[in-house]
Amino acid sequence: MSLAHDSRITVRPAALAQRPARIWPEINHPAAWIVAVILLIMPLIANGFFLIEIFASTLILGTMALSLMFLAGYGGMVSLMQLTIAGFSAYMVAVFGVSGNANISLGWPWWLAVPMALALATAFGTLGGALAVRTEGIYTIMITLAIGAAFYYFTNQNWAIFNGHTGINTVATPHFWGVNWRADIPFYYIVLAVAALCYFAVEYLSRAPFGLALQGVRDNPRRMAALGFNVNAHRVAAYAFASFIAALAGVLQVWNYRQISPGSVSVGACIDVLIIAVVGGITRPIGPFIGALIFVLLRTFALDFLVRIGLDGNRFRFLIGLGFLAIVFWSSDGVIGLWQRWRQSRRPAANRPGGGHGHG
């Protein structure tokens, strides 16, 4: 019908105010540049232990938590299966690639095994998401936790593919161009590159139609449907994207430890990812990395600290639990929320931007 053709609401052409182009993420803060430079020259200042055990671990965990931040912060979907997807991807790298368990591993080269692992883990996460989007709120948490728990018990009991509770050991890592990419410094740069890529992808997407629509689904799914959006399809697509990020982190994880076992995909570890994201803050993509840094520092150094004050060193989770409680009580948007409020309180009231919400 021709009606549809000429029926756009036309008003006087808007005097287009100059809006900053939305093409690239805004990296205009001097602190962001300083952090970027420090991360790039890290191998010059940090020894191997700090480089891998602290910073690479932080970036890997941060990337997993970033996938949760994307779903929870932009989509309003709290998924507890992000670590499970990463673990599945790690298992697939070990199963398709080369490992010490020759009866299980197919021995594909890494450049075939990794795309396979990414594709399968993304499919796995998308499928889980397709189940989870039928539910809301607490039920989404329950169904994704159930998927995580089921996968944990399955890996424990399945010997044909997952090698039961012993897992798969001595997983091969890439060697090419004469470089051992699992040596400390090259591996650090691989991890940094992947984490940065994921970070900027999420940041960029938050202002693209797909990301904006996801935030619309978070705020008001019913209205989104009344604007012409297929809400469930959008949610499933968000799971697919987040699963791909988690799968990337899983590949790095298995290269880091060179082994994967059910202990790495336990229900406790699934919940750690939630804690990392919430402590750091789920409103911005930087939050999960801050949360991961706090988590890794506590995990690594709390033991010494606790022993020194005469407590059992294994109680580092106790400290994390206290920190989690404090954050949930005092700052629902995590450490970055605390920091933002502190900065605003130091500024004169007149200069405050309305809300300071940033990119959403």
Binding site: M1, L3, A4, H5, S7, R8, I9, T10, V11, R12, P13, A14, L16, A17, R19, A21, R22, I23, Y204, L205, R207, A208, P209, F210, L212, A213, Q215, G216, R218, D219, N220, R222, R223, M224, A225, A226, L227, G228, F229, N230, V231, H234, A237, G354, G355, H357, G360
Partner: protein, 260 residues
């Protein structure tokens, strides 16, 4: 009237919106009973009735927020009874909500941009819109049409009530609407804002029809050419505004009943 026009309307051809025998049950409660309404393209109609008359339920059935328990709904001749809401919206149906249903975490501009994006291609686009994006221009125009240019970069949560009501209307006018359902657009507006609302409604292009639910008779009867009175989930009376206003039964039921 046994004309061709009558027969055509009997099969639904030519009607913008045609409801036949629409019934909606909530458990044992019938919110709508056997509602039959036909609206021409470009027709502007008010739906009146006291609280609980089924007006908003009628809107929810038309948009598909909840499907009718029985009956059929045709939109420009197409049977949309079992379509999900987004399929109806993409065909040119729009609605506003009685209680503003906006995206409080996003800016005014982003709210309107989403509305424009929802009825066009590229809903899943991973690319940010550039300076010369056509939909950004369309969103700018809409923001200006509802007088919100001054606050377009503010988050919706920070807007005054009247501004939120105006944004609510902007979201319903995105793209190429063919028929709009306005659910109490004047609720809570000041007299000045009401005048602006009337201006927006009366200046809509003539081919865009609408149904308006409105308790304020000054607003409702100035912007429509026909009226449907509802009572207890049924169509009680249909006619032009003057007939309805002077109908003794209607006055008894609605206009007299506590209305100033």
């Amino acid at each position: 009237m046994d004309s061709v026009a009558h027969r055509l309307s009997a099969v639904g051809a030519g009607a913008a919106l045609e409801l036949r025998g629409v019934t909606r049950l909530f458990g044992a409660l019938a919110a709508l009973t056997d509602v039959t309404i036909t609206v021409r393209p470009g027709e502007r109609r008010a739906v009146l009735g006291s609280n609980g008359a089924g007006k908003t339920t009628l809107f929810n059935c038309i948009t598909g927020d909840f499907p009718p328990s029985s009956g059929t709904i045709r939109f420009f001749g197409e049977d949309v009874t079992h379509f999900p809401p987004y399929e109806r919206i993409r065909r040119g149906l729009r609605r506003t909500y009685q209680i503003s249903a906006l995206f409080p975490g996003l800016t005014v501009q982003d709210n309107v941009y989403l509305a424009c994006r929802g009825v066009s291609r590229g809903r899943f686009s991973f690319l940010r819109p550039g300076q010369n994006d056509a939909l950004m221009h369309a969103a700018d125009n809409l923001v200006q049409a509802v007088h919100l240019s001054a606050v377009k970069d503010q988050r919706v949560a920070e807007l005054a009530h009247g501004q939120q009501r105006q944004l609510e209307i902007a979201l319903a006018l995105a793209g190429a609407p063919r028929f709009v359902l306005f659910d109490e657009p004047a609720a809570g507006l000041s007299p000045t804002e009401r005048a602006e609302l009337i201006e927006i409604l009366t200046s809509l292009p003539a081919h865009i029809g609408y149904i308006i639910i409105e308790h304020d008779m000054d607003v409702a009867l100035r912007v429509v050419e026909s009226v449907t009175m509802m009572h207890n989930g049924r169509v009680f009376k249909e006619g032009v505004p003057q007939e309805i206003q002077s109908d003794p039964e209607v006055q008894e039921l609605y206009l007299g009943g506590g209305h100033e």
